[in-house]
Symmetry: C2
Subunit: 301 residues, 2 copies
């Protein structure tokens, strides 16, 4: 029976530590860290995400602000707003809630956020620096996965890891951190890493997973990771999150990529969905906001 990785508890600890850190930072004569979110249009999911982030910020003592823009906004107008925030000295961290409307180039927007303020780590410079093992801003979900592995003392050096999925914001940064040289950067983990994706045949996926000490899955395909794919004692991190109907009712529930009930009897560690990686994403966003505020404050000195 696997140990259940309690993302809620770890996230609560992270947030409590940040609250103290922010108090000390302010007591030392600095203004409170500041986070600005840009929310475009009226997608209910995006609104919920942004609200949760803003609520977490307030609890920690981070000043937060949401710029809610109409979905009709032009790319140029949006770029102008981002540029003002880039230059505004009372703004530390900037996030643009994705997705943006179809008429706006998402990559252009991600690159427009000044890399020093880019709390999501999506700017091409931050991505390049991550790939080069340089000091940078790492996206929040990958950072949360790393923190969970660290918290539960999951050994990574020389171990076999599989990352299922190849998204640029989640899977790729995780694969990057897992395989790189720990002597070059604190966040690196020295694992042997296999990246699987939609063109990996299912029997090959099974084979690679069976070799893995660590499986990190982020596909949004419920049940893609089954019990017979998991090595006894392996650590299974589930980033997938899908809403499915509960049979025989008109209700829905959230499930991950992993067949949790069966896999938990085989794995050594497993994250539940919800309550695993999810809560860590917001906590890491807060951690990065505080880091950015400190960087900018020290730069000004």
């Amino acid at each position: 029976m696997a140990k259940i990785i309690d993302g809620k508890q770890v996230a609560a600890e992270v947030r409590l530590n940040l609250k103290n850190e922010v108090q000390e930072f302010i007591a030392a004569g600095n203004r409170a860290p500041q986070l600005t979110a840009i929310l475009i249009g009226n997608d209910p999911a995006s609104q919920t995400y942004v609200n949760n982030k803003m609520k977490a910020a307030q609890e920690i003592g981070i000043n937060s602000c949401t710029k809610h823009l109409p979905s009709s906004i032009s790319e140029d107008e949006l770029l102008k707003i981002i540029d003002e925030l880039n230059e505004n000295q009372s703004v530390d961290a900037i996030l643009v809630q994705l997705p943006v409307p179809d008429h706006i180039n998402e990559r252009k927007i991600c690159n427009a956020v000044k890399y020093e303020k880019d709390v999501d780590g999506f700017n091409e410079i931050n991505v390049g620096r991550l790939a080069l093992d340089m000091e940078t801003i790492v996206p929040c979900t990958p950072l949360g996965v790393r923190q969970l592995l660290k918290y539960y003392n999951i050994e990574t050096k020389g171990k076999n890891a599989v990352v299922v999925g190849r998204s640029k914001n989640v899977s790729l940064p995780i694969a990057m951190m897992l395989h790189t040289d720990k002597s070059h950067h604190d966040r690196s983990m020295d694992a042997t890493v296999t990246i699987c994706h939609r063109y990996t045949p299912r029997d090959e996926l099974k084979r690679y997973c069976q070799l893995a000490d660590i499986i990190v899955t982020a596909t949004g395909i419920p049940g893609i990771i089954q019990a017979d794919m998991v090595k006894p004692g392996a650590c299974v991190i589930d980033i997938g999150i899908t809403r499915i109907p509960i049979e025989g009712t008109d209700k829905t529930k959230l499930v991950g990529d992993v067949d949790f009930e069966a896999v938990k009897d085989i794995a050594g560690f497993i994250t539940p969905v919800p309550g695993g990686v999810g809560p860590m994403t917001v906590a890491m966003l807060m951690k990065t906001t505080v880091k950015i505020a400190k960087n900018l404050a020290f730069k000004k000195l």
Copy 2:
């Protein structure tokens, strides 16, 4: 018996095509593409590398120039020279021959070369763009590997690939191109990719290699890839290059990472060392120089 991948021949074809392309470019009223190399100090290997590149450039009709600087040059002086080249409109492509002397920060120098002129693709912006499947400049050796796979019609989509090594200039870009989504970028290859390195236990390395349809090795450890590690029919690309003594003589020879004589009886395709990937690196440097010259010329229009 494997088909021997003839890097010399493919490189010669690439260079011939480039020669024609350059002639047409000039005939259309443009000045010849220009490549400037910065060579610091008197390392004989570095001098040979730079000379080979300059010679290849001349044969193709690329204007070339080597700035030979003393190893005593300061970082600031070097940065100033790079900046002048960045601004100089008669310079297209810039390369700094690595390694630089110990008192100079290599990463700072790589980032100082303007990303549009960064023929080696080492600037952090180009690395980030590669990771994000954006239009960018890809380092020459990885580009050469991709070209060889393409030339010999080696299927990559859904195939198992192993990259042995995790260097930022060679292995990482190869792993990146091999695993990414071909529908996003022409250079992407949709393979399942495993990245192995110094902390991959040798028996695990063997296991991953045995599963691989494509093995790309870049370790500089002669004989690390043995015949019993290779699946019959696999494609084996050897980027390692090590000079070793010839037994019983005072002569030396170049060898790769692969036990060529034994592996060639099992593999489907194999690159020799020398004469495999090596010649492709210089050819791809020329290809990128021409690409940069065209980009800059069209930008000026």
